[in-house]
C-alpha cells in the first residue's frame, strides 16, 4: 500500500494509504481529501483533479501524457510542467511516499 501525501494550497497535509491499482484521484476521493473531487470519475474530462507532482517524484510519475491529459492541462489555469491529472496517475509500490500539491481554488 503506497503512502501518498496530498498538500493543499494552505499547507494542510493529508496522508493516505492507497491501495495498489487505484489512481491518485481515486485514493484521494476514497479518503475524502478536500480539493480533489474527481467530478468525471477519472475520464480525464473535468480537470477537477489537477495536482503538482513534487519535483523529486517527477521521474517516477512522469510528466503529463501526450494526448487528452496534456490537452486538458494546456488550458488549465496555473498549470506547470509538473502538473498532472491525478486520475491519470496509477499508484504502485514504486510511488510509495509520493507527494502531490493541490492548486489553490480547486474545490
Amino acid at each position: 500500500m503506497p503512502k501518498i501525501t496530498y498538500i493543499s494550497s494552505d499547507g494542510a497535509e493529508h496522508v493516505v494509504d492507497a491501495e495498489n491499482g487505484l489512481s491518485a484521484m481515486e485514493a484521494a476521493v476514497r479518503n475524502n481529501v478536500p480539493g480533489i473531487d474527481g467530478d468525471c470519475g477519472g475520464m480525464a474530462a473535468c480537470g477537477t483533479c489537477h495536482v503538482y507532482v513534487d519535483r523529486a517524484w517527477l521521474g517516477k510519475t512522469g510528466a503529463a501524457r501526450e494526448g487528452v491529459e496534456r490537452d486538458m492541462l494546456s488550458v488549465t489555469d496555473g498549470a506547470a510542467d509538473n502538473s498532472r491529472l491525478a486520475c491519470q496517475i496509477a499508484l504502485t509500490e514504486e510511488l510509495d511516499g509520493l507527494v502531490l500539491r493541490l492548486p489553490s481554488g480547486q474545490h
Binding site: 474530462a45 490537452d71 494546456s74 489555469d77
Partner: protein
C-alpha cells in the same frame, strides 16, 4: 445564509443515495460539519456511479469496486449512517420527520432530497414484456449486459445520450443495433445540429441503423417483444428493446409533502425548496441557474455535484464557491464529447476543426462554439479537450472573442481563453 458554528444543525437527513446524495454527505464532513448525518437510499448496497453503466461497466471494462463512489468502510469512518434498501415514504414537515419503508420515523434538522429521476416509460409497451429494458440502475445494466452479445439484435428507442452510448457499447460487443428517434435529428434537445449530424454519420459508419422521424406504432410480441413497427410500415425484429426516451424527476415524496413542484422540486438559487428546512439537489431539482437566470432542471453529474457542494457549504456554515458553468460529457466508441454552457440567444455559430469524414476510420476532432454578441455561451467538443476547456473558461469569464480567431485552428486556444 452562513450560520455561526454554534447553531449548526444537529442532524442532516439525505434521501437518495445516488450521485448527489453520496457526494453531499462526503462534502459535509470535508467542510467540517460535525453533527449526525443519515443517508437513506432505496437501492441495495453502497452508492455507485451511473455514467459507467452505459460505457465501461456495460463493456465489462470495470469492476464493481471501481464503480462504487467510495468503499463501504468510508461511511463508518466518516460517521455517516448509510441506510440502504430503505425507501422514504412520507415527510411530516411540521414535525420535521421522515417516515421510512420499515415504519421508522427519522427526525431531521435539515433534510435534503436527492431522489434523482427515473426512465420515462414507452406508452405502447404492454405490461410484462421481459425483454423491454430501461437503464438507470445497476440491476438494469446487468440485464442489458446479458442481452448484448455478437449477433443479438437490440432496438434502442430514443436517440439521446443514453441511447447513443448504449448503441456504441452494443456495437463494440458485436450486437446488431437499430436506433429509433422520433425527432428529426438525434440529441435534438441537448446538442446542436452539427453534432447531431456528425454522430448520425458516425454511428452509421459503425454499423448502426439510425432512423430519425421514427413514429412507433407497435411493439409486437406476446410475453416478449419480437419486433418494433413504425408508421411507415418498417418492422425491426429484435431480441431486446432498450427504451431511452428521457427521465422523469422523482418528485412524489416532495409533492405529497406539499412542496412546490413543477417538472422537478422548485428550489431557489441556494437549492432551498419552498420549505426552509428542505433542500433539493441533482436530477430532481429545478433551480434558477445563477449564470442564466432561468429555472433549469439539469440531469448531469457535474450539476448534481455543484448543488451538493453548495448545500453542504450552506449547512456547514461555509462560504459557497462561485457558480459553475454547467457541463457534461459523453463517451461513444473512441469519441470523447464534452460540452459546456447553454446555447442562449445565439447569434453566431463557429466550427473549429473538421467534422466531415466517412468510413469507420476517420479521426474526428472538432468543436462547435455558440456565440451571443461576441461572447461564447456554449461549446461542444468532439475529441478536442482544449476547445472544451477554453470554451468553459470563456463562458465563465464572459470575455469577447473574435469569431474568426475561434474558427482558426492556427490560433492557440489557451491564448484565446487567457
Amino acid at each position: 445564509m452562513t450560520q455561526a458554528a454554534g447553531d449548526a444543525p444537529r442532524r442532516v437527513v439525505v434521501i437518495g443515495a445516488g450521485h448527489g446524495g453520496a457526494q453531499l454527505v462526503a462534502f459535509l464532513r470535508q467542510f467540517g460539519f460535525a453533527g449526525s448525518i443519515v443517508l437513506v437510499g432505496d437501492e441495495a448496497g453502497i452508492p455507485y456511479q451511473r455514467p459507467p453503466l452505459s460505457k465501461a461497466w456495460l463493456k465489462g471494462e470495470t469492476t464493481l469496486d471501481k464503480l462504487a463512489m467510495r468503499p463501504a468502510s468510508f461511511y463508518a469512518e466518516q460517521k455517516i449512517e448509510l441506510r440502504s434498501g430503505l425507501r422514504a415514504e412520507g415527510i411530516d414537515t411540521a414535525a420535521r420527520q421522515v417516515r421510512l419503508s420499515n415504519s421508522e420515523q427519522l427526525g431531521y434538522d435539515e433534510l435534503v432530497l436527492a431522489t434523482g429521476s427515473y426512465p420515462r416509460a414507452l406508452p405502447l409497451v404492454a405490461a410484462g414484456l421481459g425483454n423491454v429494458l430501461a437503464l438507470r440502475a445497476l440491476p438494469d445494466a446487468e440485464k442489458l449486459r446479458a442481452a448484448l452479445a455478437p449477433g443479438k439484435r437490440l432496438v434502442i428507442v430514443g436517440g439521446g445520450f443514453i441511447g447513443l452510448e448504449c448503441a456504441a457499447t452494443a456495437r463494440d460487443l458485436g450486437a446488431e443495433v437499430v436506433v429509433l428517434e422520433k425527432a428529426p435529428r438525434l440529441l435534438e434537445r441537448v446538442a446542436s445540429a452539427p453534432i447531431s449530424q456528425f454522430l448520425h454519420r458516425y454511428h452509421e459508419a459503425r454499423g448502426v441503423t439510425v432512423v430519425v422521424d421514427a413514429s412507433i406504432t407497435a411493439v409486437e410480441g406476446q410475453g416478449r417483444a419480437e419486433a418494433v413497427r413504425l408508421a411507415d410500415g418498417r418492422r425491426f425484429a429484435c431480441d431486446s428493446v432498450l427504451v431511452g426516451i428521457g427521465a422523469v424527476p422523482a418528485t412524489a415524496l416532495a409533492e405529497a409533502a406539499g412542496l412546490a413542484c413543477d417538472n422537478g422540486v422548485c428550489v431557489g438559487a441556494d437549492c432551498r425548496s419552498s420549505d426552509p428546512h428542505i433542500f433539493a439537489i441533482g436530477d430532481v431539482a429545478r433551480r434558477p441557474h445563477p449564470l442564466y437566470g432561468t429555472a433549469l432542471r439539469l440531469e448531469s453529474v457535474p450539476s448534481s455535484l455543484e448543488q451538493a457542494r453548495l448545500v453542504a457549504a450552506a449547512i456547514a456554515g461555509r462560504e459557497p464557491g462561485p457558480p459553475e458553468v454547467p457541463w457534461f460529457w459523453s463517451d461513444q466508441y473512441d469519441l470523447k464529447l464534452q460540452m459546456a454552457g447553454l446555447p442562449v440567444a445565439v447569434d453566431e455559430v463557429v466550427i473549429r476543426g473538421q467534422p466531415e469524414g466517412a468510413g469507420a476510420e476517420f479521426a474526428a476532432k472538432f468543436a462547435v462554439f455558440h456565440l451571443s454578441q461576441g461572447r461564447v455561451t456554449c461549446v461542444e467538443a468532439v475529441n478536442q479537450p482544449q476547445a472544451f476547456m477554453a470554451g468553459r473558461k470563456l463562458i465563465g469569464s464572459g470575455k469577447t472573442v473574435p469569431a474568426a480567431r475561434l474558427a482558426d485552428p492556427a490560433v492557440p486556444l489557451n491564448e484565446l481563453a487567457a
